[in-house]
Amino acid sequence: MPKYEDVIDLYDDNGKRIAKDIPLEAISPLRNNAIKKIVSLTKRTCAISLAGTEKALKTGSMTGGGVIIKGKEIDIPLVENADKIAELVKEKVQVYEGDGTVVEVKSGGKNIVVVVPEERMNAGIEYTTGFTTTAAAATEAIIDYFDIPMYKANMVKAAVWGRYPQTITFQGANVKSILEVPQNNEGAGFALRNIMANHVVALVNRNAMQGTALSAIFEQCGSYEMGDMIGNFERGGLLSLAYQGLNANNMLYTLVKKNGKTGTVGSVVGSLMERAIEDGVIRVKETLPSGYKVYTTDDLPKWNAYAATGMVAAIMVNVGAARAAQGVPGTILYYNDLLEHESGLPGVDYGRAEGVGVGMSFFSHSIYGGGGPGLFHGNHVVTRHAKGVLIPAVTAGNCLDGGTQTFSAEATSGLFKEVFGDLPEFSQPMQYVAAEAKKVKKKL
């Protein structure tokens, strides 16, 4: 018996129906195996930059901050021997044959992608196991294979791990994880919110619908982890994930299609109102003397999911028309304000998204230092308040950038594209989540 009465149809990024009559619970991260796999791979997957390590050892320039350690340079051909190192790494990381360990050489030996087995994750409680396992294995593999003497071995450690533990983060490390160290998280449960919009953009190859979906998955999983999707709050979060992230009932796609050619943020607000009235989510409460109609709803969480979907549509239309990501914060802010004035109902996340839009405009327009919208994630001091629904819109906008950003996804997140790029769970999450949802439906 499903927990919630809500039933949705899931549509893909081209507006094609891929799953019918899906109970809301079937897209819950607690039930849906595709989402679980995305989360699992996110924490288990790391990349070793052999080219970077080789250069660091050869020049002594390592651990970031312009540090060069002279006199202990090590000139060893790591890239050339990538296959051998990969073999050694696998030996060290793998628990038993067939445990899901992956060690793959990429870019002709410049990088090695490592997926640490679940067994190791399960034997600890921190997601950093992915990083520490990979880094330690790489360090040992290099020392062993090239027979590095004891008094130079510390250079290998520094080249691979970076300056940690003198620093809190793995500063200057040549092993990269898409997740930050826990100490950099704003609070409990923020790990999956600490993924830059640009990383997601790179993972989905700039497909705005898929980017929205993947960001929504990360953010809503974060909501569970933060304790924001427990009890009565769960349904609201799932509705947002469904409509905003997974194009439930094709609302997002239809809104964009309707407004794509000539529409504005304002016309998206109009289309959303129309849809919400048609679907019976909102209705007129009273008409004021000026003729202004005050709308009300009997299902505020659902209205919120509708509003969140409209927000992404507004971004897709306005920022998409500009092919310039810088308009993201402004669009978030004024979309919500226009919607509130239009309907008399609260904007996305009950006003929080609008508030974030104000701060984010400030922080992403060189008024307060540099940095474009692509660098934002849900762990940022100005974005963390609108949980679950804000970052998907940011990702959507960044996917649609035509090359205006200094901090583009290509510049900041190329490595992660290489690491996760082949995994369909990350490049086409809409299809994968829908397929798994169908399976869950049968069980409910």
């Binding site: 990024d13 081209n14 507006g15 190859n205 700039r206 497909n207 619908m209 349904r235 964009v256 299609k257 794509g260 050619k261 000539t262 504005t264 304002g266 016309s267 607000v269 109009g270 109102m273 129309e274 048609e278 409460k285 004021l288 003397p289 000026s290 003729g291 202004y292 109609k293 005050v294 709803t297 009997d298 505020l300 919120n304 897709m316 239309v317 306005n318 998409g320 028309a321 500009a322 092919r323 810088q326 308009g327 402004g330 669009t331 802010l333 004024y334 004035h341 239009e342 008399g344 609260p346 009950y350 006003g351 929080r352 405009s361 959507a396 996917c399 649609l400 035509g402 090359g403 205006t404």
Partner: protein
């Protein structure tokens, strides 16, 4: 069912004006015709006649990343050409300027696409691909939302929106980008929006009378129309505040509020 947008509550003059400016179906009155080359000069991003500089190669259909949304959303002209993103910024006086910065944002996003806009206390910036910006900027300078005396085109040092007017009724500008032509009774720009002197004087015409401005403005003021006297507007603010609060607490319990 075709939904008809209602924009903003209220029966007062500022409320009605707000709706008017926001409604893309309303064609705003053109009050003057400043030559496009002069608009380009005042903005100062390029010389008239000069080619547009680009920040990325032109967008060609079929060569964009594989994304269904890109196929649905048509890029604006400047985006197609890979233009730089440039800006124009207006400062609006609190003394019954035709529009105030915040309503500019509402208006821009209801009337134009591909716009990045931001409001600060007394000014409003619009950042758009250059060739689209020029078209927008000309419209904004020519139409009824611009008053030569009470609207300033100011890229930096925008101070003045809340200052007393000068003896000629002009909004204060420490950089004096525009001056009063006492013979013609017109406002004349002598510097561009960042105060680099212009090589010619550009007239933006005669300021409106205060009596007319009070009828055109979107600004609620205690000595004009007090916002508290428009019950619908006051009700709206309280309503949103209440619903945001209730939604932030237990949204599932909010029914028919």
């Amino acid at each position: 069912m075709a939904y008809k947008r209602q924009f903003y509550p209220g029966s007062s003059v500022p409320a009605k004006n707000r709706r008017r400016y926001m409604d893309p179906k309303v064609k705003l009155k053109k009050l003057r015709d400043v030559a496009m080359d002069d608009v380009v000069r005042i903005m100062g991003h390029r010389n008239p006649g000069e080619d547009y500089k680009s920040i990325h190669p032109p967008i060609e259909e079929g060569k964009e990343p594989e994304c269904p949304i890109r196929k649905l959303v048509v890029p604006i002209e400047g985006a197609k050409h890979g233009d730089r993103v440039r800006y124009i910024q207006f400062t609006d006086s609190v003394y019954f300027a035709p529009i105030s910065p915040y309503q500019r944002a509402w208006m821009y996003l209801s009337r134009y696409r591909g716009v990045d806009t931001g409001t600060l206390s007394g000014r409003q910036i619009i950042e758009v691909r250059e060739r689209d910006l020029e078209v927008m900027a000309k419209e904004m300078i020519d139409n009824e939302t611009f008053d030569p005396a009470l609207t300033g085109i100011r890229g930096a040092t925008v101070h003045g929106h809340a200052c007393r007017l000068d003896e000629n009724g002009l909004m204060f500008d420490g950089w004096q980008r525009y001056v009063w032509d006492d013979e013609k009774k017109e406002v004349v720009y002598v510097k561009d929006q960042v105060a680099i002197p212009l090589d010619r004087r550009i007239s933006v015409g005669k300021p409106d009378t205060m009596a007319n401005l009070r009828k055109k403005t979107t600004i609620f003021r205690a000595d004009g129309v007090d916002m508290r006297d428009d019950k619908e507007v006051t009700m709206y603010g309280l309503r949103i505040h209440k619903l945001r609060t209730l939604g932030g607490y237990q949204p599932w319990k909010v029914k028919g509020e």
